[in-house]
Each structure stands twice: as C-alpha cells, then as structure tokens.
C-alpha cells in the first residue's frame, strides 16, 4: 500500500480519509470547493462530499473561524483553510480570543476540535503577505496546538490526526514543498501527532528544523557529511506542545545545537528552544545554542527572498560557528 505522493496530494488524500471516517468533518475556506483550493489541496472533495461538507465561504477569514466556533459548538469538526499565511490575521481575533479559550472557559463543556490549515513560509516568488511564518503567534497562545509537517507521509497522517484531535490545531503546510514527492505507506502505523522525529542520525551537531526547513537541514547534513561532519537532524513536527526529549537526548551526545526556521529570529521558536535546551542540557553543551532564521524585517520582495531565507550555506555557517567554540 505504499505509494509515491506529493505533500499536496497526501494532504488531499488525508482529508478525504478524515471526511470518510467522520461525517461531522466540514471543510471551510475560500475557493476550496469548485476550484479545489488555490493549491488544489481540496481538489475533488466538494464533488464527492457535497457543498454542505466542503463549503466555499464568503471572503472573510474572521467569518470562517467565527462560524467554525459555532459549528464546533454544534458537534461539527471544522477544518478551515486559510488561503495564505498572511491572510490569517483578519481571523486572529477569533483564533486567539475565542477558539483558544472556549474549552477552558467552559471547563471542557465546549470542545473546539477545529483545524486551521495554513500554507506557510516563503520561497515561491510571491507578492507580499504570501510568504509569512506566523507560527510563534500561535505557539505563544495557550489553548492552541501547532503542528508543521515536512513530508508526504507526515502530511497524510498528520492531517487525519489533527482532524481527529479534540483540541484546536494550527496545521502548517510548507507551501513551497507542496510538490515534493515521497513514499506514503497508507497501511503503516503513523507516528504520534505531537512528537518530533529524528530524520537523520549524527554525532557532531544537532540541527533542529520544521516544515520547509527540514529539507534544507537535510541538504546541509548531506553537504557536511562530504566534509566529514556528522549532523543529526531532528524534525520538530510539533511546535506546541514542543516534544524536546529526543532533542535533549541528542544534544547530550553532540553538545551542540543549531535551530533553523524561516520566521524572524527574535522571539521565534528558536529562542524558546534555545532556552529550554540550555536549561536542560547546560552541562552537556560545548557551545551556545545557535539560531538560523529570517531577519527581523518584513518579508522581502521575492527577488531578495533567497538572501532572506535560511539556506544550506547559512545552516553550515552556523554549524561551523558551533564547532568553533
């Protein structure tokens, strides 16, 4: 039952399975019905499940999330597509003040099993507001859970697990990797949704990444190996809650840690991870935890995004600096 799928197709299949498994699953978003979504992630689903379950919504992101809250109160499991990362902010109020708090305020009487799918990150040559990395805003908000997938297999399983999960999940999809292919064994037992994964073993430096940067980290590890350096690459996969036990285990062996993400470096996920790794592995560290991220600027025009985004060379530069301590 193993097949080669792109991340986009794996998400499409995963959503199809989720809808087959539970009649209460309702997809909502802009252009997700007849068009199948601007990235075609929901291609064919409205045709097969009908307009009541795959809803082409009015063009209003707060409306998508706000009505999702009401549908959840009625026992539905809304899966909301935000067309691009930069368009989540009109819905930010509903996500942060309502979706995130209602379970706590109601002492669990009003579960909010809402999935917020967001294609995130840059690298596609887009105009502004189409390349953002907003994960820290959501990871900072109590009541939300945040996941970022990096492979077709994790996309296929992750979206199904997120839909079945009882808490609201911000589900980040690496848009520039939508077309990357990989093996998906649809008969396999999936890894846990809220767990990180060691995707390449190594001994010299622990490199942490998630979403689109996992591939970049793996490329850096490949290049480093040619120079005789052994990088261990961990795909964080879950950003809230963090699953750092495998990270601590790794850092205790390597003594060095580099965190990579596209989001601006200041107060990004890397800052929290650096603090926790330092608190937990202080006596094992040979070098400070280093961060490779976007600069603290607005996301640049696309002709400059290659310089803005962390790439193989910037990861290797950080690895060199770590080894230089």
């Amino acid at each position: 039952m193993s097949e080669t799928l792109t991340i986009g197709k794996a998400l499409n299949l995963g959503l199809r399975r989720a809808m087959e498994d539970d009649a209460k699953v309702v997809l909502m978003g802009e252009d997700i019905g007849r068009l199948g979504g601007v990235f075609r992630i929901t291609d064919g689903l409205q045709k097969d499940f009908g307009e009541a379950r795959v809803v082409d919504t009015p063009l209003a992101e707060a409306g998508i999330l706000g009505t999702a809250v009401g549908l959840a109160m009625r026992g539905y499991r809304p899966v909301c597509e935000i067309q691009f990362d930069g368009f989540v902010f009109p819905a930010y109020n509903q996500i942060v003040t309502q979706v995130a708090k209602i379970h706590a305020r109601s002492k669990g009487r009003l579960p909010m099993p809402i999935v917020i799918r967001i294609p995130f990150g840059g690298g596609i040559g887009a105009v502004e507001h189409h390349s953002e990395s907003p994960e820290a805003y959501f990871a900072h908000t109590a009541g939300l859970k945040v996941v970022a997938v990096s492979s077709p297999a994790d996309a296929y399983w992750g979206i199904q697990q997120a839909v079945a999960h009882p808490d609201p999940v911000v589900f980040l999809e690496p848009k520039r990797r939508y077309w990357e292919k990989g093996q998906v064994d649809t008969g396999a037992t999936p890894g846990a949704l809220f767990s990180s994964r060691v995707v390449r073993g190594g001994d010299d430096v622990t490199v942490l990444a998630y979403g689109p940067m996992v591939k970049t980290a793996l490329q850096a590890a490949e290049a480093a190996a040619e120079e005789g350096r052994s990088l261990e690459v961990i795909d964080l996969h879950t950003l809230s809650p963090l699953d750092l036990e495998p990270v601590y285990e790794s850092v205790r062996r390597t003594g060095r840690c580099v965190v990579v993400h596209e989001a601006p470096t200041t107060l990004g996920l890397g800052a929290e991870i650096a603090a926790r790794v330092t608190e937990t592995c202080f006596h094992s560290l040979e070098a400070p935890v280093l961060r490779v991220g976007g600069y603290d600027t607005p996301y640049p025009p696309s002709k400059l995004e290659e310089e803005y985004l962390p790439d193989l060379d910037r990861v290797l530069d950080a690895v060199d600096r770590s080894l230089g301590f």
Partner: protein, 379 residues
C-alpha cells in the same frame, strides 16, 4: 412631553442633526405605550394570557432586583465590577421568553435578563464579576452560551451554530445578542453576510441602548440600525425595547421565520442604558441628566405595572408578592456571593486543553510543589 408613540417624521442621523432617537419613531413596533396602554400593531399581533403577563412582570421585576443587588455588592467591594442592565429589562426578558427550549442564545456580557429566562443561576453570573470563574454555567444544558466580552465575536458563533442546525435538519434557531456599538465591528458585518448567504436560522437581536460606553449612536451609524439589514438582504425591524410585549412578539415571529427556513432577521430593540456602562463608568461625563429623566418616563417595568393594574390583571397583593420574592432573591444573591469560595489555584491548568500537554502537566506540578513549599510558614 415627547414620547415614543409620537409619529412625527423620523430624523436620520446626520452629523450635527442630533440623536437619531429624537423626536419620533414611526417605524417603531409598540404594543404597550409608555403610559401602559395596550395598542395593536398590524404586523405583530400578540396572543398573551393573563398568566403570561403576570409572569413577564415577575421576570422584569426580579431581574431588576438582582441587578440592583449586584450593583450594591460591587459598591461594597464584593464584586470586581458589574455591568448593569438597568433599563434594558424588557428587551432582554422579551427576547429570552421568545426562545423555544432548544433554541440557543449567544449573549454579550450584559444579558442577565436573558440568563434569567434560561434558568441560569444568578450566582453563576455573579461568579464572573467576582473573579471566581470565567465561564460560570453549563452553556449546553442552559441553551445559553457563555458571555462574550470581545465585542461582536459571538454573532459569528451564533451564525455558525445556525449553519450546524441546518446540517442537522434541526427545527431550532440561534439568537445572537449585540449592542449598537457592535454594529461597527467587522465581525458583526461578516456574521450578517454569512447568515444571509447561507440563509441561516439566526436572529440578530441588537439592543440599541444609545451608547457604546460613552460614544453615542451617531458615531456608529448614519442610518437607523434596523435599516442596515436591507443592505444585507434580510428584514430589519425596530421595536420599542422598553415594551416587553412588543419585543416578545417581534422576536417570536423572527425566530419562527428562521426555523421555517426564511433566514435571518435583524431586530433593533430601541432602549436606553439607564445606568452606567459598568460600575467603573461615570455617565455624567458624557450625557445630560435630562436625557435620563426623559427615558425614566419610558421605564419598561412601570408601563407593564400600569397596564396590569389598570386592566385588573394584577392587584396590589400580586405586586407585594413579587416584591417579597425580590427581597428573597436579593438575600439569596447576597448570601451566595459572600459565601462563594475562591477557586483552587490548580484550576487554571485543568481545562486549557481536552488533552493535557506534558508541558502544562509539568507546570501544574511545579505550581503545586512551589505552593506546598510554604506550608507551615503562615503564608
């Protein structure tokens, strides 16, 4: 004396033209004049028994008594704050009593009168304002959602809930409460677009109490609010919000239309916040005493009392009985408030998620251990 029943030409609010509610309201649905005279409206008949009339009066009087007691408790330092509904009793009780048992109401933070009609314990509402709880009651059991403080957010929840009703082929409706200020919020406008587009069984019940804290209605709208509905493609009705019978009739028929698949209605209950926005507010800074005096003549409880007395539906004994019941309620509220236990500190961790995270479980354990470390130290 200017009254709501005058039928002079409506003056739409334009800058400098004065308040939109003055001087007359020809579009206003009214079944009981401020003087307590029962009148008919061709579009909104109301068949109401004497028992129902007495019970409506009881609700109005007890809700006001609760409100007065809560304000006193705040003044005495027992509540952090209180958002008084003084003057809006008829709008809230009328709307609440229009709901069928399985309908779902989505309140703001001032709908104590609706809470009362849904059987919510006043002490559960008080617990929010005392700082003991952030939810208070069981919204599923009471068919009355939790209070929503972020202005207008609940109108989308009501609309989504109504979309769920459609998918369930349920014969219920959702009632979304909002205020005049909320009509300026983007989310409220989105809710009305969605409700119209999907023909959702939701009724928007706007209590236009003339002020968003200090800002008068003219700053929110250049047209009477109920006329906005036309732009969204559904009916808008302006009802005398101080007339419990008119509110009951108009809300009942709007909910019935929603249940029958006719989509949403926008109801503007034209009323007045006779008290402050909350106990932290000072309305003397932004409105004239004469305005309040004028609205006192339109008091929602006095007019029903006048009608019940004059028509012989209720006698002095009935009113004395309600008064005594009010005193009992106030005593219950006072005692219950003073005896309300503080919550356990660990509660803040316990319902953040349906599935607790390891990180939060760790923080909870740390919190417990930290506080336990002071035991025996007199902290």
């Amino acid at each position: 004396m200017s009254t709501l029943s005058q039928t002079t030409e409506v003056v739409d609010p334009v800058p400098g033209a004065g308040a939109p509610h003055l001087p007359g309201q020809p579009d206003l649905v009214q079944l009981l004049t401020p003087e307590g005279e029962r009148v008919e409206h061709p579009d909104h008949p109301l068949d109401v028994s004497d028992d129902e009339l007495r019970s409506l009066y009881r609700d109005l009087a007890l809700v006001r008594r609760w409100d007065v007691e809560a304000t006193a408790l705040q003044r005495q330092g027992e509540l952090g704050i209180w958002a008084s509904l003084l003057g809006q009793e008829a709008a809230q009780v009328g709307a609440g009593r229009a709901l069928a048992a399985d309908d779902m109401a989505f309140p703001t933070y001032r709908e104590h009168g609706v809470a009362w009609t849904r059987g919510v314990d006043p002490l559960d509402v008080i617990s929010l304002f005392r700082g003991v709880d952030q939810g208070g009651w069981d919204p599923v059991e009471r068919r009355f959602n939790l209070y929503t403080v972020v202005i207008g957010a609940q109108t989308l929840h009501a609309t989504g809930y109504a979309m769920g009703l459609q998918r369930d082929s349920a014969e219920d409706a959702a009632l979304a409460f909002l205020g005049d200020g909320a009509t300026s919020q983007g989310e409220v406008n989105e809710a009305m677009i969605w409700a119209a587009t999907f023909s959702a069984p939701v009724v928007f019940f706007c209590q236009n109490n003339q002020y968003a804290i200090s800002v008068p209605i003219e700053r929110q709208s250049r047209v009477p609010l109920f006329r906005r509905a036309a732009g969204f493609g559904f009916p808008g009705v302006r009802v005398d919000g101080n007339d419990v019978l008119a509110v009951l009739a108009v809300t009942r028929s709007a909910l019935a239309a929603a249940r029958e698949g006719q989509g949403p209605t926008f109801i503007e209950a034209f009323t007045y916040r006779m008290g402050a926005h909350t106990t932290s507010d000072d309305p003397t800074r932004y409105r004239l005493a004469s305005e309040l005096e004028e609205w006192k003549l339109r008091d929602p409880i006095a007019r029903l009392k006048a009608y019940l007395s004059r028509s012989g539906i209720a006698d002095a004994g009935f009113f004395a009985g309600i008064e005594a019941e009010g005193d009992e309620l106030a005593a219950h509220i006072r005692k219950g408030t003073l005896e309300m236990p503080d919550p356990a500190g660990t509660e803040i961790f316990d319902h953040v998620y349906a599935e607790q995270t390891p990180e939060l479980a760790r923080q909870r354990a740390e919190f417990v251990a930290y506080h336990a470390s002071f035991e025996g130290e007199g902290h």
